[in-house]
Structure formats: C-alpha cells, structure tokens
Assembly symmetry: C2
C-alpha cells in the first residue's frame, strides 16, 4: 500500500492489509475513511493542527468537501476520527517468552517509530493536536487507553510464568529465603497495577521526546526496561496494600 | 507581586522576590523583561502559540512594539526568552533528609503545579509551543536540562548518606549478606546516572498529563517515587558496567 509508513501508529505497528478476496459492504466507506485519515496526517505533519483545513483534506484525499463536512463536521472531527482509526488496527504486543523480552521489544518499538521521520511526524502531530483541540485530546486518551490495555497481557503472562510477585500469593523469591521486602505486595487486597507497569517503559521515552526534548535511543529504552523490571520485582507497581514508597523508607 | 502564579515554573517554584533596597543597573530592563514574559505566557495560555502575536504582547506588557521587535525580533524570540527567564529563578530541589522524601516532594510539586489551572496553563503552553517552534523546543530543552541538573544534588546527597549503591564501592546491602544482585552496579567503570534517576519521578506524570491525557494525583506521584527508589536500589540507573536489564534476565 503506498504511504504505508503514514499508517503506522505511535507504537510503530502497521494496520493489517485487507485479506485478499474479502469485500465487505463497508469496503468503499473504509477506503474513503483511510484516504481521509492519510490526508489528515499529511496535513498535520505539513502544517500542524492550526494550519489544517477541510479544504486541504479534500484536496489530498480526493473526497469532496461536502462529504467531509457531512461525515466529519469539522477539522476536530477529522483529527479525532484519524486517531480512532489508528486505534482500530490489529497491533498486538510482543510475545517473546519473557517479561524482559516483551518490555524491551515494546520500548524499542517506541524508539524505532519516533526515530523514523515519517512515523514520528504523524505521531507527534497527533500529540501536538491534543494541546489545541479538546476532541483530539479525548481521542488521544482513548487511543492510548486502548493501546495500553492491549499491552497488559504482557504482565498477565509474566505472572503466569512466575516472573513477578503475585499480590495474592507467595512470590518466587520467598522460596530462596530472601527477606520479604521484595514481596510485600502480597498483603490481602493488594493489586498488581499492570497498566502502570506497561506505561512505565514508554514514559521515560515520551518524556524525553516531547517534554525535555532530549534524544532517545535503544540504550535509553533498555534503561527504561531495567528500571521497570527492578521496580516490578520489588512490588512497586502493587497498589492497595502496604506496598509502595512508604515500605521503602530510607534506611 | 500581582499574577505571581503566572511566574511559576513547571516545577511550581516561584521566582525569588527582589531583595528590598537593591537597585541594580539592570533593574528597569529586568522589569521590562518580566512584563514581556508575563504577556507572552498570558498570550500562549489564551491563544496558543499559533495565535500569539507581537501586537498582543505589546498591548499586554505596555512595552512598545518597536522595542519588542528590536530586542526579541519575533514571536519565537519572545517565547524562547520567556523560557530562558523561567530558568533563571532561584528554585532549589527539596532537601528533606532522605532520598524518598526528596523524590516525593519533587513528584508532588509536579502534580501540584499541573493541577493548579493557572500554573498548568502556562506550563503546558510552553510544552505545546515546542511542537511548533524549533527555537521554543531548544529553549525548553535547555530549561529542563538546567532544571534536572539542579535536581542531581538529591542523588549526590543520597549516595553520601549511603542510601544508594555506589558504583565504585561496596553497597550498604552487602553487609547484610544478601546476594550481590542488588549491587551489581559496583563493577569498575560503571556510573550512577543521576540525571535519569531524577527524571524518572517526573516522566510518568508528564507522560499521563501530555501524552496519554490521563489524570495525575498524589497517589501516582508516590507510585513514581516507589518505582524510582526500587529501581535505584537495584542498580537499574547504573550504566557503563554490566548492570541493567540483561543482568535482570527472567528466572
């Protein structure tokens, strides 16, 4: 598909190509929507949200202006739908067989997508648009909520493999006679915050890309993984019990 | 000073008020610069970077347009100087007597400033401007680089107090007979990455505020502290040796 990189989402995954021979009733509508989305991304990349117009999208998608106004209403609607569509892809998180491998693959995907100029441009244009449009901000929130919900399976698999302390049972380390400080998330009522754990490998990367404006690379991705793993094993993502910072009071 | 909150930087610290009776040669220039900065922040907050004009800054600062063009050249120059000025404050990082206390105070400052609408508006306007102006992005990078450099003293004090494994010597835990995995940053040539450690408490907060657009609160701040502390004690911020993710391979 031409311009495939422009379809990549913020994690660098591409949409699944349509299965050959399938022709659902929504086929033409879906193609129109994708063409409009491509034009929106191109416009955001070229001019930013403030410079994006329905006229630009019409000219670059081949979809008539009146159709755009009828289906998407305005520029905000166009941007929000482009994000909604990005969230409808078939991306699945890495499944390497270990928590460390999965988190590393995830972190390196973020670095790879934001160091690829074509992908980085549309991804950062979406993040920028959220500063100027409340509807874009809501769409971005939904996009990432759904994306990170998909990632939580990484944590579930790690718990099943015994790689992480389980909040409701005995933790692997206790068998080795080490003191219980690494497993103090095992109090009744405590919960492993899988959402926070998977966000933790992305946060330092996005923070440097878009807040402190520092370069990111695979070494930083690996550091984010090491930090997240060490914290996860120490029970720092366990909430609702006595775990957390207070447990880790300075000696 | 009227509008003091507008002077607060992204960490929520305010500029030191001028010492009474001091009247340096630059006094009037400094006041002009501060008035211009206030007008720039007000304009960014009200209209965003794309809507900010030299005319707006002139009208809201009381400084003549020709003076603005002469000293700041254009809107980009005005925004960059507002950030430079924000970085010239007398903010110092918290000094509570423990690493955990310092990091918690730091994380909570971020939450407090971005949940205070007045401070949040100017802070996020600066972050937004960096998406649209390369000079604003450079100024933002300098601002945060300098801000986090100030924070590194938190880590230095923690090392002096023996709260963290020291990359070049024995770590506190080794005295207790625990296996050396928590101190494997102690290989020759390894370095404790204080900059990454202090960024680690802010990253999950900024990530949710400006990327995933999720709410932040003190509980999230405390989780960021717990994660950072656990990782720091496990040597995950130690670089250049054999420490890091590979050491923490899944069992």
């Amino acid at each position: 598909m031409p311009g495939e990189t422009a379809h990549e989402n913020a994690h660098g995954a591409t949409e699944a190509p349509p299965t050959p021979g399938t022709r659902r009733p929504g086929g033409r509508t879906a193609r129109t929507r994708a063409a409009v989305r491509d034009a929106v991304l191109a416009g955001l990349t070229e001019h930013g949200y403030p410079g994006l117009t329905v006229e630009y999208v019409a000219a670059h998608s081949g979809v008539h202006k009146t159709t755009l106004y009828r289906r998407w209403k305005d520029v905000e609607g166009l941007v929000a739908d482009a994000l909604d569509l990005a969230g409808e892809d078939s991306w699945v998180p890495p499944d390497t067989g270990s928590l460390e491998g999965d988190l590393r693959a995830l972190a390196r995907e973020v670095v790879a997508s934001f160091t690829d100029p074509a992908v980085a441009a549309s991804g950062s244009a979406m993040i920028a648009a959220a500063f100027q449009s409340e509807r874009a901000a809501v769409a971005l929130r939904h996009y990432y909520a759904e994306r990170f919900a998909r990632c939580e399976v990484i944590v579930e698999r790690a718990v099943e493999r015994g790689e992480l302390p389980v909040p409701t049972g005995a933790a692997p380390d206790s068998a080795k006679g080490t003191p219980p400080r690494a497993v103090s998330g095992t109090v009744p009522g405590s919960v492993l915050d899988a959402g926070a754990l998977v966000r933790s490998v992305s946060a330092p990367l996005f923070f440097r890309l878009f807040i402190t404006r520092e370069p990111v690379d695979d070494a930083l991705a690996d550091q984010a993984v090491a930090v997240t793993l060490a914290a996860a094993r120490a029970g720092a993502f366990t909430t609702g019990g006595t775990a957390g910072a207070s447990r880790d009071a300075a000696p």
